[in-house]
Amino acid sequence: MTDFLNYLVLGLTRGSMYALIALGYTLVYGVLQLINFAHSEVFMSGAFGSYLIVGMFVHDGQHLAWWQVTLVMFLGLLSGALVGAAVAWGLERVAYRPLRRRGAPKLAFLISAIGMSFFLSQLAGKLFNRLSQNQFPSYFDQNKAVFTIPGSGATVSRIQLIVIVSAVIMMVFLDRLVSGTKLGRSIRGVAEDAPTAALMGIDIDKTISRTFIIGGALGGAAGFLFGTTFVFSNIMGFIPGVKAFAAAVLGGIGNIRGAMIGGLLLGVVENLVPTFPWNGSGGWIGLQWTDVVAFVVLVLVLVFRPTGILGERLGRAA
């Protein structure tokens, strides 16, 4: 039981990050019906951007008080979100809008996004570094257990708590944003039926731009969380990007709650299934098959529910 819970917490931590990134895919898919392949680079730029900002205030080996840590975390999330949003905005401007103007075929968008992805990831490598494992300064003991789950020996560490809590806060915030604000309504309107939305006076370009910005902010914040928990590099985006894309599809691409559920589920599945039955044997399947497990689960879900767990439609989500 202890082990199960430990894996579950690990899974939820990883899943929260997947979910945050998946939201970016799903939002863009909702309004454009396009996979934003460069979203992984938005995520990456969030990590680099927040590192530049956070690095100005803290340095390695500091021991900050809890409120200071909270402040730094907030700063990191904010700066990651800002940089992510800025990059996503530019991305839409450069790689999407001109193609929309020209009425490009659907795959052209995919390829321009791929081009952008190559470009951004290598530009970041050129400007900063190509080391595979940059680290944020260590200014508090991330791994100290915050609490023990009652009835078992399983613990939740500080960083796990921070990741899960901040992800949940952001997701709730997004959910409110999309369901309850004017911007949210216009996003849903464009997602449902862009021409009609335009007739209703919604500025499609602006709405798409803002959708990218929101998705980018979440992705950028996830970049900060990822970089703080693990490491960051110019090629960090690719694998989480693919997984988050899978998570978005798993939940039903275009569906906001679907992306959240898909992300969390994928993270949990990746940690729980290969290690089953959690008895110290290393698992029947084994961790080297983690990605295979993830994709097989995805395929199985899609075979039985061809539009994902919650189905499509951004508009219906809220």
């Binding site: 894996y7 690990l10 190509r130 595979s132 490491v231 694998i239 290969p274 008895n279 080297q288 983690t290």
Partner: protein
């Protein structure tokens, strides 16, 4: 294959006679200034580096090519070679399928007298024959796969001990201390190789072994650390590289794995110590090498490297530095013996007995470091520094 060795060497001398460049002041004209004068120290030879300079594995290639560059610059600055050396960088992206083109690029330059690389075993397997057919000598600084020496590449040499030499030695040591070991590898050619060798030897010694693989591109080592801890193993062996090792070290500490942590040569580097920080303390490393960070010559190397590239030497930089110096010494010897061509240089490389910063290097008939000569040493990280514990077979 257009082998134009002789042809092009002849062409070279013709060029020298032409004195095409009397006194060019232009920048980047390494080839021009070198051909000035025609005689004396005028000849230019090229040392090629083949490895990943782009793509996901570029960092390893950059570590190595910096080592090569440093060796060449130092040699040119000393002016005692009797010839000038140039560096040719051939980028194979660490990809076996791109290696043949990189090799063709190296081979078509007739002044190339030797290759440092390819960085990876896969690329080495793809081009070993091609270089062999052209008599071009290979001094490999990093591809440690234990099968390379058996593939019959005629001009192949290696300055790092192979996985199979290192693995069993450290496994013997582990078998003395632990009864249950968890062996993790990074699913790379190197990692799977060394982990496999360790696993085999441990099992032979009657130790209970559990294994798992984690892709080297993973950043989240939570689940594997949890699994290692849960297995109740007394020790964990990691076959993989330093950067991933650092992440793994942190994750193991985070879950509170109580056992010993052991790793191969790939992990033992400053990247690991800085990356893992305190979590790296207490890790053991096996390495068939001298302690590069304490040997006096190595200290100079570290200082020069840091000064030149603004970053401390990293994985395989010292090996690449040594490999280059071996090549330069061989060209010099070939020149002293009469002819400098690819074949004579290869012959000289095979005869090498060289005191490098990673140890005394001497090649066996198969091009590998002979099993006996390289004693496998045990190291450990203590207070953020890697210190030597001496010969692993004698270590407690």
């Amino acid at each position: 294959m257009r082998t134009r060795t002789l042809v092009n060497v002849a062409a070279m001398s013709a060029v020298g006679a032409l004195a095409l460049t009397a006194c060019s002041n232009s920048t980047g004209g390494g080839g021009l200034s070198s051909s000035a004068g025609g005689g004396g120290g005028g000849t230019t030879y090229t040392v090629a580096f083949e490895g990943p300079l782009s793509g996901d594995n570029a960092q390893l290639g950059i570590n190595e090519v910096n080592g090569v560059q440093l060796a060449i610059d130092q040699a040119n600055a000393k002016k005692d070679l009797g010839f000038t050396v140039k560096l040719l960088k051939a980028d194979d992206g660490g990809d076996a399928s791109k290696a043949p083109a990189a090799a063709a690029q190296v081979l078509q330059d007739a002044t190339v007298m030797g290759v440092v690389g390819p960085s990876f075993s896969g690329a080495s397997k793809a081009v070993g024959k091609i270089y062999g057919a052209a008599n071009l000598t290979i001094v490999n600084p990093s591809a440690s796969n234990g099968t390379l020496q058996t593939l019959g590449f005629p001009t192949w040499h290696r300055v790092v001990p192979n996985d199979y030499a290192e693995g069993p030695a450290v496994a013997d040591w582990m078998a003395k201390k632990f009864k249950k070991v968890f062996v993790v590898n990074d699913l790379s050619d190197y990692g799977a190789g060394v982990a496999g060798a360790v696993e085999k030897e441990l099992k032979a010694k009657g130790v209970t072994v559990q294994t798992a693989g984690v892709d080297a591109k993973t950043t989240d080592y939570g689940a594997i650390s949890q699994t290692v801890k849960q297995s109740g193993a007394q020790a964990m062996f990691y076959g993989g590289y330093d950067a991933q090792g650092a992440l793994f070290a942190k994750a193991l500490t985070a879950v509170g794995f109580p056992g010993a942590r052991v790793a191969g040569n790939g992990v033992k580097s400053s990247v690991f110590t800085t990356g893992a920080g305190a979590a790296g303390n207490g890790w053991y490393f096996s390495c068939g090498c001298q302690d590069a960070t304490v040997a006096p010559s190595a200290k100079d190397f570290t200082a020069a490297y840091t000064a030149k590239f603004n970053t401390p030497p990293s994985t395989y930089s010292p090996e690449a530095f040594d490999a280059t110096n071996i090549l330069l010494a061989a060209i010099k010897a070939a020149k002293a013996a009469g002819t400098v061509d690819r074949k004579s240089v290869n012959d000289q490389v095979s005869k090498t007995d060289f005191a490098g910063i990673t140890g005394q290097i001497k090649f066996g008939p198969d091009g590998d470091l002979p099993a006996g000569t390289g004693t496998v040493n045990l190291y450990t990280q203590k207070d953020g520094k890697i210190i030597s514990l001496g010969d692993v077979s004698k270590a407690s």
